[in-house]
Amino acid sequence: MQITYIFLQQYWWFIISLLGALLVFLLFVQGGQGMLREIGRSDVERNMLVNSLGRKWEFTFTTLVTFGGAFFASFPLFYSTSFGGAFYVWMLILLVFVIQAVAYEFRRKPDNFLGEKTYDAFLMVNGVAGPLLLGIAVGTFFTGANFAVDRINITAVGGHTAISQWTTPWRGLEAVADWRNVALGLSVLFLSRVLACQYFMNNIDDDTIFGRSRRRMGLYSVLFLVCFLPFLAALFLSDGVAADPSGVMYYEPYKYWHNLVQMPVVAVVMAAGVLAVLTGMITGYFRSSRKAIWWSGIGTVLTVLSLLLLAGWNGTAYYPSNADLQSSLTIYNSSSSEFTLQVMSIVSLLIPFVVAYIWYAWRSINRKRITRREIENDGEHQY
């Protein structure tokens, strides 16, 4: 098979989508942080939760950083347009992740200046705002954002040379005005909590926490479905921005529905994903299955992957501009050069190897579940 530029652009959109999908799954860490006080009613219980999550938080964080880096490398025009434009949104997201990064290590150390309650509050703020904001930001991949791109600006000597401009003073915060973005944000938030409950059920050996997690999972499963299903319905009913072969953008009614029909493999992946998420919720709640996290986890990855593929493949603009239609970004007009994508593709061959060692290390640490005794004894490194 000849590896063409178009193939590489699609391949990199797949990698970005996969990283995004893994990130949403790993947001279970945030989901758990947000529920510290709901599920953990005593200090010991909260410490059990924090230590259970604490062995995984870096994966989520690293996936977020890698997602950003890979997006930068493969679609730099998106990076410059969205980050430089939706300034407030991205700065807020950064802020809530900065406070997370120190909270685990610092929270119970003596002389920690801000106090354990503050660090736990950091974890909770990150746990709620992280998934919500990321979900809202990803919503704009479908609903569009307010920007204009003109490369000739870079020749405007003596003036402002930025090729990408944001057209509202709200700098990305205006995304909350579209209910679909909010619905997706809430969906991600509630899903992260469902996954967190399932993770606690799997990772913590304690009946009280198990029971509470199971019940909470039921609640958040319902809330998730209440937010996500309308989003999905609206998505398939709404117009999308499509690009013709010469790169001219136009609105296409039912674009995402057309994408689903025209890419049956993606449709199958999405159906399998949704089914798996539901299976996890049902077996977790009704059968108290410890394995629910695997069903819902894999289901989350498949569902998000297929959603993001719908956003970028099949000649769709993955970042439609609501201000200037022709400025909309597709994977073809915003990607890196063919050579850079080739180099990066060779590097991407390392990904299976990375996944393999993560898997191995994860298993070796998770072999023993967290218990009250372990947390009450201060012998090991603890958060």
């Binding site: 062995r55 490398a73 430089g84 390392l350």
Partner: protein
């Protein structure tokens, strides 16, 4: 439309924000780079001997490593995204080249670090001794690999190679990955930077151990830690000196203005002396080598040796670079500005032709940007090479802050030299087995810690302040790299992060000192 003064405010606040985050990040990173290896060496002793002493020692230093690591991660994420938020034009103009090392850093290095650090901290009773040791080494290697990729990216900004400008996309595109990766500037920068981190970590371990000796606690742990750290530190500082020498040569070739500013060297000369110590006059009074200093002590010929390894080499001065020196074939900045504007105008003409569907004009201009044609070779080396100068307002814009660069360089080198002496004395005293008794040396070791941080930070000041106004040397000044945003937004986020990072720094110092005073724990 923003006025020029508003635009300059955005540039200044964005620079301030980036500098602030980079400074906070760099407070923590060098210790991670070096302490990772020191801990791994200690654990290797544990693995080989099975002696519980080494496990206890390893776990003590590992605890400090963990506290420091967390805050390094926290301050690092901002830097990556700030390229997009504050420097969006930069991200587009060179994202094709600059993005790749960042992505590779994520895929290759960050996962290695974050996966195995979990094994390192939580795996003591869960995995085999061998696997645990491997995890510790992999964490250290992962941290250093992260440094490799980000420094490759930084090296490329200082010396852009392996790329070609594409008028169709109006950006620079990578044509050789290996030229970017193995650029001599990048390699020198990598080894110089990581070895300086090892030195800092060694000074940290030596200093903290000295504190225990002063308190007459944990003598055995302190003495053995000093031994490992001082050998590691001595080897590292020699590497640091060697790569520093290499940096001097490359700076003189690729960033002569940085070298001139570092030395407050106003008039170019052959066999140039180096000012070992000096006090600069205010900017308005500095016009030549004669009137630049209130007072100076010079070492003859040393600047020529440093910059070209030749006692009689010519070293260009600030005045030569700003006003030109035809005898030496140095173009004036105003000439470069004119040529840069020609290149920018050609790009503008190309974009207009594109809009109008004028393929003839497009092809004609494309040939100028094509290095395969003779016309292209000439245009690229005579005009496009000065593309970034086209954005400047006056020739003097190419001069960075001279006093800051000059003093920072002397602080870095001065403290570095003292550290060679320190490690030599510590090694000698250790060899004589009199470290426990030599109280004055214990105090010196302890108080050396802050100096390691000062020297390390000064090094980055030289590298980054010295290259102003460029984000990419000669191709993109900060004024053309910044996002289109209002200064107030940047200012507000600057203060939010400044406040947060300061609070976290205080927390980290308090936690760290507390953990040191608790000392190693018995199992």
């Amino acid at each position: 439309m923003q006025s020029i003064s508003e635009l300059m405010q955005v540039v200044d606040w964005s620079r301030a924000q980036f500098a602030m985050t980079a400074i906070y990040h760099w407070i923590f990173v060098p210790l991670t780079l070096g302490l990772g290896f020191i801990v791994a060496i200690m654990e290797t002793f544990y693995y080989k001997t099975g002696d519980a002493f080494w496990k206890r020692t390893t776990k003590f230093w590992m605890r400090l490593f963990g506290i420091n690591f967390a805050i390094g991660v926290a301050t690092g994420i901002i830097l990556e995204f700030e390229f997009g938020t504050n420097w969006s034009n930069y991200s587009y103009f060179v994202g094709d080249i600059f993005g790749a090392p960042l992505a590779i850093e994520g895929i290759m290095a960050f996962f290695l670090e974050s996966t195995f650090i979990a094994v390192m901290f939580f795996g003591w009773n869960k995995v085999s001794k061998g696997f645990h040791l491997t995890a510790t080494w992999l964490t250290a290697i992962g941290a250093n690999l992260s440094a490799l990729w980000i420094l490759v990216a930084n090296g490329w900004m200082q010396y852009p190679v392996g790329m070609q400008f594409n008028p169709e996309t109006a950006r620079n595109e990578m044509v050789s990955f290996f030229d970017v990766l193995f650029s001599p500037v990048a390699m020198n920068k990598f080894f110089h930077t990581v070895s300086s981190g090892y030195v800092l970590a060694a000074v940290f371990v030596v200093g903290v151990s000295a504190w225990f000796l002063l308190r007459r606690r944990e003598n055995q742990m302190a003495l053995r830690s000093i031994k490992i750290a001082s050998v590691f530190g001595m080897a590292s500082i020699l590497l640091c000196v060697f790569t520093g020498d290499g940096s001097g040569v490359w700076v003189s070739r690729t960033q002569p203005m940085k070298l001139a500013a570092m030395e407050a060297h106003y008039d170019g000369s052959e066999g140039a002396p180096l000012v070992a110590v000096g006090i600069l006059k205010p900017e308005a009074e500095r016009t030549s080598n004669e009137d630049a200093f209130y007072f100076k002590i010079e070492i003859p010929k040393l600047l020529s040796i440093m910059s070209a390894h030749d006692v009689d080499a010519y070293v260009a001065g600030i005045n030569d670079l700003v006003y030109g020196n035809p005898e030496r074939g140095i173009l004036s900045a105003s000439e470069k500005m004119e040529r840069g504007r020609v290149a920018i105008d050609e790009l503008a003409r190309y974009r207009e032709a594109m809009e109008n569907g004028d393929s003839e004009t497009m092809q004609a201009i494309a040939r100028k940007f094509d290095p395969q044609t003779d016309e292209g070779k000439e245009f690229l080396s005579e005009y496009f090479a000065y593309f970034g100068y086209g954005y400047l307002q006056s020739p003097e814009d190419i001069v960075p802050n001279v006093p800051l660069t000059f003093y920072a360089f002397r602080v870095m080198v001065g403290i570095g030299c003292l550290f060679i002496l320190l490690f030599a004395v510590v090694l000698w005293t250790g060899y004589r087995k009199s470290l426990e008794r030599t109280r004055w040396l214990q105090y010196v070791m302890l108080w050396a810690i802050p100096f390691a941080y000062i020297a390390s930070m000064a090094g980055w000041v030289v590298a980054e302040v010295g290259r102003q106004p460029w984000t990419i040397q000669d191709l993109l000044p900060t004024v053309a790299a910044v996002s289109r945003i209002d200064a107030t937004s940047v200012m507000v986020t600057f203060f939010i992060f400044a406040l947060l990072f300061t609070a976290l720094l205080i927390a980290e110092i308090k936690i760290m000192t507390k953990q040191i005073s608790i000392g190693p724990k018995n199992e």
